[in-house]
């Protein structure tokens, strides 16, 4: 029986939860090692050895040490192709390319504005930090435009990269979850017919429900 892989970071972190969702989809046993960011543990010399940018998550298995959530997800899929959801990263090169394209779209177009909104609307108040209204409205406008593109795509395709749930959809779960459930921005998703349908499907997956449970237990 292989040693469980290690994920370092708090489950409340969007990037950490991206990796957790992937591990659960792939049925890969893991050990979650807490990192107390309020106490600055992510900037400690020991942590910087495994993640020199001082960000979460960091990942270790017997063979290697990695960081960057989307890289970790790809590695998990490539290392364990036969486990869990076998199609998560595609089962042929064209499917995989389409998934990579939409993971990139998430990283380059969806993540920047949604991250700002998640921080401003969900985290800043809890951390008693001042919100920036112009930053909020700018990024809401950006995200609306991105979701317009998504709505068109999802009118032609059940999931972003094709007919099956993939890493591309999974990659969106963490930020979207907070926007809907902790930032009162559910309307961004419900006001667009196809995006609403897609969000309903991907957020009700068992794997994501398990991650949300882990987040609830951590608070």
């Amino acid at each position: 029986m292989a040693t469980p892989v290690k994920v370092h970071g708090p489950p409340l972190s969007t990037a950490v939860s991206r990796v957790l969702a992937c591990l659960i989809e792939k049925d890969v046993p893991f050990q979650l090692i807490p990192v107390n960011m309020a106490k600055g543990e992510h900037k400690s010399p020991d942590f910087l050895k495994i993640q020199p940018f001082g960000q979460v998550p960091a990942f270790q298995d017997e063979a290697t040490s990695l960081f960057e959530s989307r890289a970790i997800c790809r590695y998990i899929c490539e290392k364990y192709p036969e486990k869990g959801n076998k199609g998560l990263y595609g089962t042929n090169p064209l499917a995989k390319a389409s998934i990579d394209q939409w993971v990139e779209a998430e990283g380059q177009s969806f993540n920047p504005p949604s991250s700002v909104l998640v921080f401003q609307l969900a985290f800043a108040p809890r951390m008693k930090l001042k919100q920036d209204p112009s930053l909020i409205s700018q990024n809401e406008a950006k995200l609306e435009k991105v979701l317009d593109v998504y709505d068109k795509r999802l009118g032609e395709s059940r999931f972003l990269a094709g007919d099956d749930f993939s890493l591309a959809d999974l990659s969106h779960l963490p930020n979207a979850h907070y926007l809907v459930n902790a930032a009162e921005r559910g309307e961004l998703f419900t006001s667009k017919k196809n995006v609403e349908r897609w969000w309903g499907e991907i957020s009700s997956r068992d794997s994501w429900k398990k991650v949300v449970d882990m987040q609830k237990q951590a608070t």
């Binding site: 960057e68 970790i72 590695y75 995989k96 389409s98 593109v149």
Partner: protein, 247 residues
Amino acid sequence: MGPKGEKKTAAALFYKLKRPSTLQHSQPTSTTMVVKVYGPVFASPKRVLVCLVEKEIEFEGVPLDLLKGEHKDPEFLKLQPFGTVPVTQDGDYVLYESRAIMRYYAEKYKSQGTDLLGKTVEERGQVENWLEVEAHNFDPHVFNLTLHVMFSSKLGIPRDENVIKESEEKLSRVLDIYEERLSKSKYLAGDFFSLADLSHLPFTQYLVGPIGKEYMITSRKHVNAWWNDISSRPSWQKVQQLYPAPL
């Protein structure tokens, strides 16, 4: 390989090419094996061009003038709904996002040309790790510098000195981490050149050239050695010759 003799505008090509509605999922037709790359003079498409040269894949640049707003043309948005470059067209098969395109061709032609993905799953993991670092920690800051220092007047947007200053500070901290990494490892993912290093070429060339911040590279011994190594690769020399930067 290289551009055809006649100059083709993007618009002319749109009307020439037949495009089925489910273009994304068409099979690539390998009869001609010439990959069309839109916007070849710009930085992000150059990642793809270098990759194709390294992999010995024939390509053809399709001009698209971002400075004239051609990327917002409705016909182009049908190919790339986010309105950015590059887009590649391989027969009827369309793909966008430079790092997705690179991964596809590097993997499809793994046994041809330079191996850009490492030899094992673990090495591939390191390539993915540092490619994501480039995308999320390096690119945003150097992109801001590119936008404000090089292109602001051309695009009619105000040059923001605060953004320039902040971006340089953030990039500086990132390069300190690169310096540490490259003191232990010849290339970013390990002792082999990979997509992770390649992805840095176009915007770093802007940084040391028209952006005027070469000192950020030359003041760091290992980053400097790494930059000299990767930027002197024949593939990068070739791409710059074929498609000189717009500024």
